[in-house]
Symmetry: C2
Subunit: 357 residues, 2 copies
């Protein structure tokens, strides 16, 4: 069967031939529908994140998948059920601690593998297998956009942790600032702007009008902030201090400047995975203001099965126009290259299609 993979030493995805997998006991065989592309894939291609399965010369890409159960094998799944796979699996050498087996998203990185990212093949193939417990059924009518479930889980988890961090008092958030208008930033802006929790939503980018993403932010009733005009550290004064700041840029200065945008008793959620980068900060001031402002920071990666279930509900309630505007391209797996193009202003969220719904 066909798969889209990265070979060792290379930095571009290629189509390869690989044997169609046979499910083991406890696993189902899934016919892949679509697999989304995101910043993590780009980092994996650049060699900045993740890694190859031990002993293999390539990594099958893709972690944002949706598929249809082709062969339930000995699982309780049914043929034809639409499913989304979770990404993390216990490390094959058994190093995953028992308390993490049910919450792999909170396990130390070196005790797990991540399909399509680190140490295990992903889902960009015509078929994949997975243990039943890592497959989340979703409604049939979400099959074509089911590849959005995984990116939504990232925000479900980050927000759950952010809210938990403020659960020791009567937190009443109103405002949220999303740093970044890439696919995750826009999806999160849409979740916040159409959800119940925040009444005042902002999204930061650095693109010129006219621009698809700015249009989308504004159509959502959110406020677009151009970081070239209003740096993150000035947003609090220029607009308002933000109860939640959600960093979706991977730009490391935002992990620190972002605290300046956080309101007293607010929280900064960090999602990006930058490479090493030394720079100067006013550490004394940031430390003091974190304390005197009762501010919290939560780093968040990956997501657990319960976040996938929440993400399915969120995807189901997002307005159709949001999805339509967000998904700018679905490429057939026989010509997947356009899905990996990141410098096209007409592109927001892309996916590779392996089978039609």
């Amino acid at each position: 069967m066909d798969a889209i993979a990265l070979r060792r030493g290379e930095h571009t995805p290629i189509r390869i031939q690989t044997p169609k997998p046979t499910p083991k006991s406890g696993e189902a065989l899934v016919r892949t529908l679509r697999v989304g592309v995101d910043g993590t894939d780009i980092e994996v291609l650049a060699g900045e994140h993740g890694g190859f399965p031990p002993g293999e010369d390539h990594l099958v890409l893709g972690h944002e998948a949706v598929g249809i159960v082709a062969n339930p094998n000995d699982t309780d799944l049914e043929e034809g059920t639409v499913v989304v796979p979770t990404i993390r699996r216990p490390h094959p050498d058994g190093r995953t601690a028992p308390q993490h087996l049910d919450q792999l998203d909170m396990a130390p990185m070196d005790t797990v593998v991540e399909r399509g990212i680190a140490g295990a093949h992903g889902f960009m193939a015509e078929y994949f297998t997975s243990e039943e417990k890592y497959l989340v059924p979703i409604p049939d009518d979400l099959a074509d956009v089911g590849f959005l479930v995984e990116p939504i889980t990232i925000t479900e988890k980050a927000v759950e942790h952010a809210v938990a961090s403020r659960s020791a008092f009567d937190w009443r958030p109103e405002s949220a600032l999303v740093l970044g208008n890439g696919p995750l930033g826009l999806l999160t802006t849409a979740m916040f702007a159409t959800g119940e929790r925040f009444s005042d939503v902002y999204c930061l980018g650095r693109r010129d009008r006219p621009d698809l993403t700015i249009d989308m932010v504004e159509s959502l009733g959110a406020t677009y902030i151009d970081s070239r005009e209003t740096p993150v550290s000035e947003i609090s004064a220029a607009h308002r201090p933000m109860d939640l700041v959600y960093e979706a840029t991977g730009y490391a200065r935002h992990a620190f400047d972002g605290l300046d945008a956080v309101a007293p008793a607010g929280v900064l959620a960090l999602l990006g995975v930058p490479t090493d980068w030394p720079f100067e900060i006013d550490g004394g001031r940031l430390h003091r203001e974190a304390v005197l402002g009762n501010k919290a920071v939560v780093g968040s990666v990956n997501a657990d099965r319960n976040h996938f279930r929440a993400a399915v509900r969120t995807l189901d309630r997002l307005p159709a126009w949001v999805i339509d505007d967000l998904v700018t391209g679905v490429s057939p797996h026989t010509d997947a290259e356009p899905a990996f193009v990141t410098d096209d202003d007409a592109s927001i969220k892309t996916a590779v299609e392996f089978h039609r719904v």
Copy 2:
């Protein structure tokens, strides 16, 4: 009556004469027993933190107080009840937001005053008045050590927030590292080492043996770490990654290096209030590791009435020898100077006594 105060333009505490206060409706008159001295007082004396009441040429010091109700006035308190006052009050100009009136500890700094610290006179006087709702009754037999309630509240709140930040998953902390062996660091080490939550407790300092504080850490069954031998960034490898790191140094580099000592899924609690200090960090690495390690940071200041109630229970369960070793000096208010000496290795926690129990 006598009070210990700081005059504008000066940096040492002096004894002044001030009128004995008359309680207003809703307030009780409290005969002051003892008032503890801590790092915040030293920062206030240095002019690095806090401020004078508007229009006044002095600030009556002291925020760690215990006293006895001398005149209940029209409150429901009874004469002779031992009480500990909370510190924050709504700003007199009415700028405190309604949702913060019941949780002043989470209010923005500029919407409150802090007795003895910022904008309102403290408790280092023979008598003070307070609204009933800001007075927490404590058992009679804790009267002589009741000045330890307030510093304990600082840790009660910080730990409550740290635990809340990890409440979105099944967190099972074992290890705690306290940065700092000053009064708050030692008190916190004692709380952790004698409490239920942590089975493996560490305390970081930079003092030479033989030393009172090192003896105390080790008598508690905790491990002393000398930061000159093992920098904070190396503790994880030299000892173990810590589920909770509690910063009680006010040394701003610890707010960032401290993250290196935090285990995946762990939390760093920040308590110190440093002055501005620019320095270089590897912001990319810290950002990345916060995300990939699902790490949290919580800044925490002040404490609310419920933390005072919890602190009374904690004080009541602390072994007598801990209190005896911790409280190294109680000076009469007529000769309070020794209580403010900070560079004496034989001194840990000091207090000023205004009336005998």
